[in-house]
């Protein structure tokens, strides 16, 4: 009886831990890339710096990193309009319009294009 209970507990532990696989963390090079990129257009860069940078250049945020194409590729497969819609509505911890209340849809699209593109 004791053996059965112990086995059950160990099995439970295994199940718990099996569910604890962590995603691959970004590499230092990817983080450095994300931290240094800015859009070339001044107004867009200001909005990016204020509203996007804190998550899209931060490996702890869980957001796709700016300039890290591998982060964006599966999202881009759904198409840019779908990504824009997500940005408009918010997704995960990102609030609607990506915390950029003064961004037009055109600017949101430009910001997505910038972040999803290779340097």
């Amino acid at each position: 009886m004791h053996c059965i209970r112990t086995t059950a507990l160990l099995l439970l532990s295994s199940v718990l831990l099996a569910c604890s696989r962590q995603p691959t963390p970004p590499s230092p090079a990817q983080l450095a890339l994300a931290e240094t990129r800015r859009p070339s257009a001044l107004q867009l860069a200001q909005k990016y710096e204020r509203s996007c940078f804190n998550c899209h250049a931060n490996g702890a945020s869980g957001a796709p990193l700016s300039g890290v194409v591998a982060d964006w590729a599966p999202r881009l497969e759904r198409g840019l309009p779908a990504l824009l819609l997500q940005a408009q509505r918010g997704v995960g911890a990102m609030p609607p319009r990506g915390a950029c209340s003064d961004c037009s849809d055109e600017e949101l699209t430009a910001l997505i294009r910038f972040m999803a593109s290779a340097p």
């Binding site: 718990l16 831990l17 569910c19 604890s20 804190n54 998550c55 945020s61 209340s101 003064d102």
Partner: protein
């Protein structure tokens, strides 16, 4: 194998505890500027929403003043929408200061900077760092706007370090009528301690002057200890370290201590965060063994290796604050320091009486200040924050946690969930009636009131 598993969980845990349980990202649920219909807005956590008559994003102070003078209806200002309480919700105009962000001036002689009010804290930190300065302390989430953070008495941790608003040496305030008030040591100095924490009810802040410190680096240390041991050592640890806080992990018997001390070296060692993975682990533990608390504790004891530690070194703002990838609900109360640990024990007992709970409880120290509506007004404080995962039932915060906070003279965090009203707030704040009188003077028609602040102030919306 077993050892490796333990190590994995602990590594996640230690990383997570660093920054974890606190606020996160901003959220301005405003409709596109080009949209023709009334916008919809909700705060980041989804606990408050509204349909304002319009969303305005003035680009500069003159434009904002014109907007205020042109109308006479209700209006509220929104920062990053991170407050859990209903401070923002309005059916009148919603004014975002997003377009009013950036550094205005650096005064090296006074070690003072002036920043536009819509700047996000993270942005402020980066701008200051480029100029060789830093904020003396930061909350563990830095996506809030500067104006929103000071207006709600947002704070970090440190027994000798006051909340952000205590470093405000001046500000520009536009009244509801569109008049500009400069509040600093030379002009309207009597208004400054009221305007430092104004809940967006005295006017709209357009610029903030802050005392800053030379840019500095910190060393972070994270470790685990049995809960009671951590509670016993906490006051000494708080005196010993520039920043100290800890998190109690419900149903595990452990607490995680987090200290930050000044670091003079050149090494930058900042491991990737596994915070969310740890939350995932704790949640799994709850989901699988929640109905059997003894089993849950047994599993936690087997899986957590209390000997492992984590250290990191980096620039101050990169360690003190972080972005959070998942939403949650939160309440937080500030207590007289002498009551803090007793209150925490009472809170923990309630949390561990409900097996649904798994989010760690956050305990911090904050120095006293002199802002009239600061929860730390003339009171060295301990802060206790209780979190609930987004989408789960958080009504127990009101039902079970707030009575405990009342018992220990807790003052609510203005930006977090609470149900306090005018009568009891008047008892908790010595300058309460002075603030109300000033509010009436600066906004006689109550344009800046909404349902929530009307309840706080005991006036009609």
């Amino acid at each position: 194998m077993k050892s490796a598993r333990r190590r994995t969980l602990l590594k996640h845990g230690s990383a997570w505890m660093l920054s974890s349980l606190s606020p996160l990202l901003p959220s301005a649920r405003a409709q596109a500027p080009s949209a023709p219909s009334r916008p919809r807005w909700s705060n980041w956590s989804g606990t408050s929403s509204c349909q304002p008559s319009s969303l305005e994003t003035p680009a500069h102070e003159a434009q904002l003043a014109q907007l205020l003078r042109a109308g006479n209806g209700k209006l509220r200002c929104v920062g990053a929408a991170h407050s859990f309480s209903a401070l923002v919700a309005t059916e009148g105009q919603l004014i975002s200061l997003d377009a009013m962000a950036g550094l205005v001036q650096v005064d090296p002689a006074q070690q003072r900077v002036t920043v536009r009010a819509g700047s996000r804290l993270a942005q402020v930190s980066r701008l200051l760092d480029q100029a060789g300065y830093a904020l003396a302390n930061l909350p563990d989430i830095d996506t809030q706007t500067l104006a929103g953070a000071i207006s709600t008495a947002t704070h970090g941790s440190g027994m000798q370090l006051p909340a952000l608003h205590a470093h405000v040496s001046g500000l520009r305030l536009l009244t509801a009528g569109g008049d500009t008030l400069v509040c600093n040591a030379q002009q309207h100095s009597e208004l400054l301690p009221a305007a430092q924490v104004g809940l967006g009810s005295l006017g709209i802040i357009t610029e903030v002057s802050l005392q800053v410190v030379p840019a500095f680096k910190l060393q972070r240390h994270v470790w685990l200890a049995p809960v009671e041991q951590m509670l016993q050592q906490a006051p000494a640890l708080a005196r010993q370290h520039r920043h100290f806080e800890f998190f109690v992990l419900p149903y595990t018997g452990y607490a995680a201590g987090v200290s930050h001390t000044p670091y003079q070296g050149d090494a930058i060692q900042h491991a990737p965060s596994h915070d969310e993975q740890m939350l995932h682990d704790l949640r799994r533990l709850r989901d699988w063994a929640g109905a059997m608390p003894a089993l849950r504790r047994w599993l936690a004891a087997k899986l957590i290796d209390p000997s492992l530690q984590e250290r990191a070194t980096d620039r101050s703002y990169k360690l003190l604050a972080s972005a959070r990838p998942n939403k949650f609900y939160e309440t937080e109360f500030h207590l007289p320091q002498e009551h803090g640990l007793d209150c925490l024990r009472a809170v923990l007992a309630v949390i561990e009486s409900n097996p649904d709970n798994y989010f760690p409880i956050e305990f911090r120290y904050v120095a006293a200040d002199t802002a009239w509506l600061s929860p730390f007004y003339q009171r060295p404080s301990c802060s206790i924050a209780v979190h609930v995962a987004h989408g789960e039932d958080y009504q127990f915060l009101f039902r079970d946690i707030m009575p405990i906070m009342r018992r220990y003279q807790g003052r609510p965090h203005w930006g977090k969930l609470h149900d306090f009203g005018a009568a009891e707030l008047a008892d908790l704040y010595p300058r309460w009636s002075d603030f109300l009188a000033l509010r009436r003077q600066l906004d006689p028609r109550g344009r800046l009131l909404n349902v929530h602040t009307s309840r706080l102030f005991g006036v009609k919306a």
